[in-house]
Symmetry: C3
Subunit: 421 residues, 3 copies
């Protein structure tokens, strides 16, 4: 439960809001490279942290993410001509490069003060492994890029997808770091399946150990396994909106399995891009796996050409009550669609003044406390360590069996660090 | 004409509003039984008096109308599993019975204080003759059920339907108790038809006698008939939002005819469920009559599977100007669609500061005065008599011919009381 | 750039706003005659200056533009019966003539004070050359009709069309009086075409001479032509929302060519009717020309049956990026659609506090100053001259070549006056 004031602080992301300012200290995934694949191709509209922007790839392949409106009379640059290393407004021909510098004002008398001094808002971008990252803060505070394993692995060892989520970022994150819901929301009613599901089904009262770290939180959920051992699921919340998903399966197999992660990037207070990444350090993905983990019709979809899920709140996620009775817990197909259903069903911004948390919400509680504290600290001028140290993001999630007397920190240590850096 | 303040008091129905509090002293029709026909079937969303709810029928056939959101993290219970005498949230499995009591918290550690103490909002329900009633007030003020004849008659002697009306409840009631509009809105331009239409057409200046009663208002509209006699149409407004419709035809035939009634149940300030009931005390309805009075494609329709009229404001009620010239007054097919057209055309909440009432609006004026007075009295702790005496609802409407020297009260007395109680 | 307060003053048009009051001193184009072509035909909804109205043509062919709501209980008069010289509300039969006088109250007792004293809002109308004009101000201030040439020419010498524009009137006007954008927004990338385009393409830095006049502004844009001569494009802004479009081509041919003009009539603060007129004083239009300049599928279209463009903001004006690369500057087909794209892309009310004007915006700056000054003067009781002198509107636009030492005022004088009056 939060006060109204704290709920507002947690959820508002526009310019000048405490949480919005905190987000503006980090690099964020902005676009898939495929969205502006072509040099001098069509610009693309983009809304992040409540700001309307337009993205384009220039003649040399550089990516610009700039104000959606021309500096002159504020015509929309989405309609602009992407040509010769700049985006040219079609109204009077003012042209801006990827840095937002106005490089041509053809309608103005020659020799006017003019171009070069006029700029539009432009944010720094970096492209890695099919993802375009953006930094929307002040240039003097530019942070380190987070050193996620999936952004460093070679081709065929990683995937990245996105899908629209029609609710605030925080309730999406809270779903992501909440290990207890998988025993319910994502369960099947027919029969138990994978080994991991065995423990999810047999012990639906996980005990949580939540630990604050340099990058955010490490959340370990402990379930009873065979006599004398625990089944641990270790996941991370990484600042400001990432989570890791442990592999399905248990140790030692899982250490060679691909693992996944999410980013929940705020479009505005009421909409979010849900990113899903995966990393397969040990071996390349097969074609089938790439399509399954990375495509629009794969595990994280299906989504339409604007990355909006086909199963969404307008069609009640195509819930099928017969399936709900006979096959799975929700009657909704697809884990991401099940997550979206419950998270969006709360309303676009859940009213946290009216909830009633339990022991299984320990991770959620810690997440809120951490974010609210960091926002307050930023107002006092203090920034989190991981802003300047990208290597802190070089972590993995894990699921494993440990003897009851081995602490998870010790037992999982080797599994929780990425290969590189 | 009302002041802005009085118009607001009359029309606002949310929790804490004066009129909303008055409504919360009465039972209200909430759903047709057919909407949650099946035990353990799909839950149904429901919005009443501005509150979002969900209805379900449990394993034993009991009906629950509860908060739309789970007590835990506020996931939508519409997506819940309706199983084994309770509705289970699909997020973490909390389960609530029809009384709103949390009977299971499977994700919480065994032995937690937990279930049993946690409750969600749940309202009392009663089911009679195909209609589910709800009481949304405080348990200690539970009122008597209104003893409407149609809710007591045997099978085939009654019907009940509902349709969405896209405006505030009060302007719908004002249409229902307004006997003068039938000479216009519902008239045909071709030729006079039924005997009752004869007087509606020949005397379009009815004189109104409005009388306050224990249940609300009795409204008698007098028209000139054959020399020496008056044609009377006697209708009732019953607290807080019912009206009766006199049978078509005149006395003595009409006393054996079915009669109808409405309830206008506020969904919120701008939307209303228009219920239509009918009662045939004297004889069972034929199959054709049941379909005509009770079906989705009958007299009160056509409506879609969500009970939204197919002729609605988005398509201008499919007005046909040729038909308006040649056949009926509006060019719109169907009496309920004609009513909806004028009532919704005023805007969702009509601006009563800008109207200009005439002598024919006496019933409307009295209705407003009564409702505003009762809301004020409730603020002082006084409740209407009919809240605790359901037998006051055992009334019928009537149309009849009386000699000019017989007062309507005397002449109609025998017709105006239902058989039972 | 404007302050927030001035931007609000410039753009708000509702009753009681400074600009709204200024507009209410002028006649305005309200409807095409074809929209209510038939006597006693269907009424038509109409929204102007933020007021909801309904228009109808009565039995004698007179046009009424009256309040959208009945005086009685405020049912929508759009659903009314247009019959026997009046529009009759279908709720209780109150009937209003084109002057808004209630001429019948059939539901009221005979002999009631009643009809004749009750009025609804009704505005003066005039119909000329296929256009219905309305005056929405106080009767005692009724202005002169603007004496536009196209409203006086004989059949086949004029056209008039309208199309919905989904933004505020002022940013539409600013596009209309802005001669510099045609070198960009409407340019073709393939090859130069008409002689006029030659100068637009060869000199994209026009120099502006803006001069205040009795009717508004005369805006002359000068471009370099062949040695020793200038190419002048002379356009007018006429109060309160008209502009003229110079013919394509240059003097002396252009003096015999048809010319065009616009009116941007505010529907409300965020929507506008963009009217396009044309006049061919020298010769009648051919059938092809009439269809091209006047039809729904012609130059100013295509529009649907409600005059909404088929290429609009919901479909990004069907921009084609290949066409944008290879054929024209925008990739959008049709000059009016190109204009709409940039003007609407600014948002419904452009934020003029954040723009950066250049030398080419001199006309725009003068337009704003003029309108804000006139609104202020009206508050002090002063009205513009042209309100009472319709002959001031008898002007033409022109494009012509002049020797460098001939002032445009002298050189263009003969071209800039219409034939009549």
């Amino acid at each position: 439960m939060l006060s109204k004031a704290d709920n507002d602080r947690l959820t508002r992301v526009g310019p000048g809001t405490p949480m919005g300012e905190l987000f503006r200290r980090f690099w964020m995934p902005a676009l898939l490279s495929e969205e502006i694949a072509e040099c001098d191709g069509a610009p693309r509209r983009l809304r992040l942290l409540g700001e309307d922007l337009v993205a384009f790839r220039d003649t040399k392949g550089r990516v610009g993410i700039v104000d959606a409106y021309c500096a002159h009379r504020r015509a929309g640059l989405f309609f602009g001509r992407n040509e010769d290393c700049g985006l040219r407004c079609v109204y009077h021909g003012w042209k801006f490069d990827v840095d937002g510098v106005c490089v041509d004002m053809p309608a103005e008398p020659q020799g006017m003060p003019a171009a070069g001094k006029v700029r539009i808002k432009a944010y720094r971008t970096v492209e890695r492994n099919g993802v375009i990252w953006v930094y929307m803060g002040a240039p003097e505070h530019e942070p380190a890029l987070p050193d996620f394993e999936w952004s460093r692995l070679p081709e065929r060892h990683y995937t990245a997808t996105k899908r629209l989520q029609q609710c605030n970022w925080a309730q999406a994150v809270e779903g992501g770091i909440d290990s207890s819901h998988i025993s319910f929301l994502h369960s099947r009613t027919e029969e138990a399946a994978a080994p991991s599901n065995k423990y999810h089904a047999s012990d639906r009262h996980p005990v949580f150990e939540v630990q604050e770290t340099d990058y955010g939180l490490q959340i370990a959920a402990r379930r009873h396994a065979d006599p004398g051992s625990y089944y641990w699921r270790v996941t991370q919340f990484l600042l400001p909106f990432y989570s890791m998903i442990p592999p399905v399966g248990d140790f030692p197999e899982s250490s060679r399995e691909p693992y996944d992660g999410h980013a929940w990037v705020p479009i505005d207070d009421e909409n979010t891009w849900t990113w899903s990444f995966s990393a397969s350090p040990a071996r390349p993905y097969s074609d089938e796996e790439l399509a399954f983990r990375g495509g629009r019709d794969g595990f994280w979809g299906p989504v339409d050409h604007e990355y909006k899920p086909l199963l969404n709140r307008e069609n009640d996620y195509r819930i099928d009550r017969d399936r709900q009775r006979a096959a799975n817990f929700t009657g909704i197909q697809g884990i991401p669609n099940q997550d979206a259903a419950v998270q969006e069903s709360m309303g676009t911004i859940v009213d946290r003044t009216r909830e009633r948390l339990g022991a299984s919400d320990r991770g959620v509680v810690q997440f809120r406390k951490l974010m609210l504290r960091l926002a307050r600290e930023l107002e006092e001028g203090r920034v989190p360590t991981c802003v300047s140290d990208g290597s802190l993001y070089n972590v993995r999630s894990a699921s494993l069996l440990l003897p009851v007397d081995v602490p998870v920190g010790t037992g999982a240590e080797a599994l929780l660090t990425g290969t590189a850096s």
